[in-house]
């Protein structure tokens, strides 16, 4: 065990963590605005990967247009799901919305399975160059994934904390009853939130498809739940928390695979989650709300 090995693993952890982070942000954005868990989000990520596949194989687009195609598609999908499935349920019991989200997720999986019965592999869209710095191997793909994710996260942070729309989003999560009285178009902002989350999931799907060999209609389930855990660990509803949680989860998973048989990965990740929730039931950056009588 030397420094080179640790650096190498740290790089892998950053790559995995940035994909988790992009998806976790979608969960946390929606939760912040609607206090609703969008269980279909992992499947939006899956659709993103397949959109990139169709852009690359059927339309023969290069990397950047394929990425934008996938992001635009999943943004539309996210907004459409919100309008069709969630908006009518805003006043219904919260569980109905969660179950509907599960239903939408299964619908997307089954639809994709009907359209694409076999696992697919996205062709290499960018020339993958590897460099070796004193024993540590870095690939251009890895750097691209990390840089692009960080860029998107900074952009999102800017949108949420520095623009008028972002202010409206934060206002809705602060007090949903009062905000419409201040002239904020709640419906439009909520749809926009879903579109933003969808676009990030599309980007994550594209990068996942480039970094890992196979995409299939059920890939969104496990990755989606993991990203959701990342959002919870960071404190769901908190954007910076989601990023921190995702990198912690990525790090833990890579560490487990490095030192233990890979079948222990889920076991350790979920046990850590349970232990963390025992001590900080609202996540790392989450706020504890006092219960009112």
């Amino acid at each position: 065990m030397d420094a080179k090995y640790i650096l190498q693993q740290a790089l892998n952890a950053l790559q995995l963590g940035s994909i988790y982070a992009l998806i976790a942000l979608g969960y946390t954005l929606v939760y912040g605005v609607l206090t609703m868990i969008n269980f279909a989000h992992g499947d939006v990520f899956m659709v993103g990967a397949f959109l990139c596949f169709s852009a690359a194989v059927l339309l023969e687009l290069p990397f950047v247009p394929a990425l934008l195609f996938s992001m635009a598609g999943t943004a539309l999908l996210g907004a459409a799901i919100e309008r069709i499935a969630y908006k009518p349920l805003r006043r219904a019991p919260r569980v109905s919305a969660i179950i509907t989200a599960l239903g939408v997720g299964i619908f997307l999986e089954s639809a994709m399975l009907a359209l694409n019965p076999y696992p697919k592999s996205i062709p290499t869209l960018i020339d993958n160059v590897t460099w070796t710095f004193g024993g540590v191997t870095v690939s251009s793909l890895q750097l691209l994934i990390i840089a692009l994710s960080l860029g998107l996260m900074l952009l999102l942070d800017f949108v949420v904390y520095r623009t008028k729309t972002g202010m409206a989003m934060r206002a809705i999560s602060w007090d949903r009853a009062l905000v419409p009285l201040m002239g904020v178009p709640v419906d439009r902002v909520v749809t926009l939130t879903f579109a933003l989350g969808g676009a990030l999931a599309g980007a994550a799907g594209t990068m996942y498809g480039l970094a890992y060999p196979v995409i299939d209609p059920y890939m969104g389930i496990m990755v989606g739940w993991k990203a959701f855990i990342a959002a919870v660990v960071g404190g769901i509803g908190n954007i910076r928390g989601a990023m921190i949680g995702a990198f912690i989860l990525g790090g833990v998973e890579i560490l487990v695979v490095a030192f233990l048989p890979s079948t222990y990965r889920d076991f350790v990740a979920f046990s850590l989650l349970l232990i963390l929730l025992m001590f900080r039931p609202h996540g790392i950056l989450g706020k504890t709300r006092a219960q009112k009588v």
């Binding site: 509907t100 239903g103 739940w225 919870v232 349970l274 929730l277 039931p281």
Partner: protein, 363 residues
């Protein structure tokens, strides 16, 4: 008007009301014993009936936590796995030496008890966390169970256990289904059951009114997981093959669909949801429609068969989530949500028959 509801309302009001429920249970028992023995229906329908029975046990027990107590558990398949593996190891590796058949009920109960102990483990975090966070705890439980099984070579890890005897028969499934529904019904209308409903409405207020919320939660989780374990044991000894993949998050989602399709906080709803789920899954096959519509004119039949019926194999998986979404949009609590078939309500609790107040509370 719902036909089942009308029939059961008629039975409740009819002169034979006292005997209606025992009569139905007895008739079911005669059918359950007679069908496999005299072959009244073909083996395929017998198989569907076994699955419906197991599904009713699963949906009813999950409804206890998700519907009546108002929590959101997604880990039901995990309890099922614990029960399935415990029962299988007992019949396959332990009792095998002693001749398994007559020890089968012992194995099933042991599986249920093992699952109930796990239910206790999940109940403890539920003291502090509720709602979304408890959903995550149950999910983590499910993943951990799966991971532990995958890494245990004694039960063949990820490749799964097979070779159990087919000890689950229609009478056994029927027996356990009746036991499940009977116990759950009596629990709901007991003083602990009222405490459970109070927790759903407002946990803090329930606590202040003297409901021992921790004890009620432990009981509900253990009861619910006990029956999930029983269902797992029955499932394992019917399919004769179990692997960690049989009990993944998709299995949990199936049970959630049955509960929310049928209706939350309603045992009648769980029976309806579990039956509807299995029947739809079986009916939506190309062969059903190809056989049922043969009387149509030949060209029309050919066209329908090619373009609609034979495509069902691909598209039938889409119908279930679509149905779930539509039910949630138009009936957010499920088809029979918060309502009960009058027959399943104990006599003293039927609407219009409130004899004496002060029987609830104080759990």
């Amino acid at each position: 008007m719902n036909p089942c509801r009308s029939i059961s309302a008629w039975l409740v009001a009819s002169p034979i009301r006292g005997a209606a429920l025992p009569g139905l249970v007895l008739a079911g028992a005669v059918l359950a014993l007679g069908i496999p023995r005299y072959g009244w229906v073909n083996p395929y329908i017998q198989m569907v009936l076994v699955y419906i029975g197991i599904n009713i046990i699963l949906a009813g027990s999950l409804n206890l936590v998700n519907g009546y107590m108002g929590e959101f558990s997604v880990g039901h398949a995990g309890f099922m796995a614990v029960g399935a593996y415990t029962a299988s190891v007992l019949t396959f590796k332990v009792f095998h030496l002693a001749g398994a058949s007559w020890l089968f009920p012992v194995a099933i109960v042991a599986g249920g008890l093992a699952a109930a102990v796990c239910g206790l483990l999940v109940a403890i975090p539920s003291f502090r966390t509720r709602g979304d966070y408890l959903a995550i705890v149950t999910l983590a439980f499910l993943m951990i169970v799966k991971s532990v099984i995958e890494n245990t070579s004694y039960v063949e890890g990820a490749s799964g256990l097979f070779g159990m005897k087919r000890l689950t028969t229609l009478p056994w499934v029927y027996f356990w289904m009746v036991v499940t529904l009977w116990v759950i019904r009596n629990f709901i209308y007991s003083k602990y059951g009222r405490g459970m409903l109070a927790i759903r409405e407002d946990e803090l207020a329930a606590d202040l009114m003297g409901v021992r919320t921790r004890r009620v939660k432990i009981l509900v989780f253990m009861l619910s997981s006990f029956f999930a374990g029983v269902a797992g044991g029955l499932y394992a000894h019917y399919l004769q093959y179990i692997s960690p993949r049989s009990f993944d998050i998709l299995k949990s989602t199936d049970i959630l669909i049955m509960v929310y399709l049928g209706g939350v906080a309603s045992l009648g709803g769980s029976i309806l949801g579990a039956t509807l789920y299995q029947v739809l899954l079986e009916v939506l096959r190309p062969s059903t429609f190809n056989e049922a519509f043969q009387w149509l004119p030949a060209p029309l039949f050919q066209w329908l068969s090619d373009h609609v019926f034979n495509q069902l194999d691909i598209w039938r998986m889409l119908i279930m989530p679509l149905l779930l979404i539509l039910v949630m949009l138009y009936r957010p609590r499920g088809i029979l949500g918060l309502r009960e078939w009058p027959l399943l309500v104990p006599e003293r609790d039927r609407p219009g028959k409130r004899p004496s107040a002060g029987k609830g509370g104080g759990a």
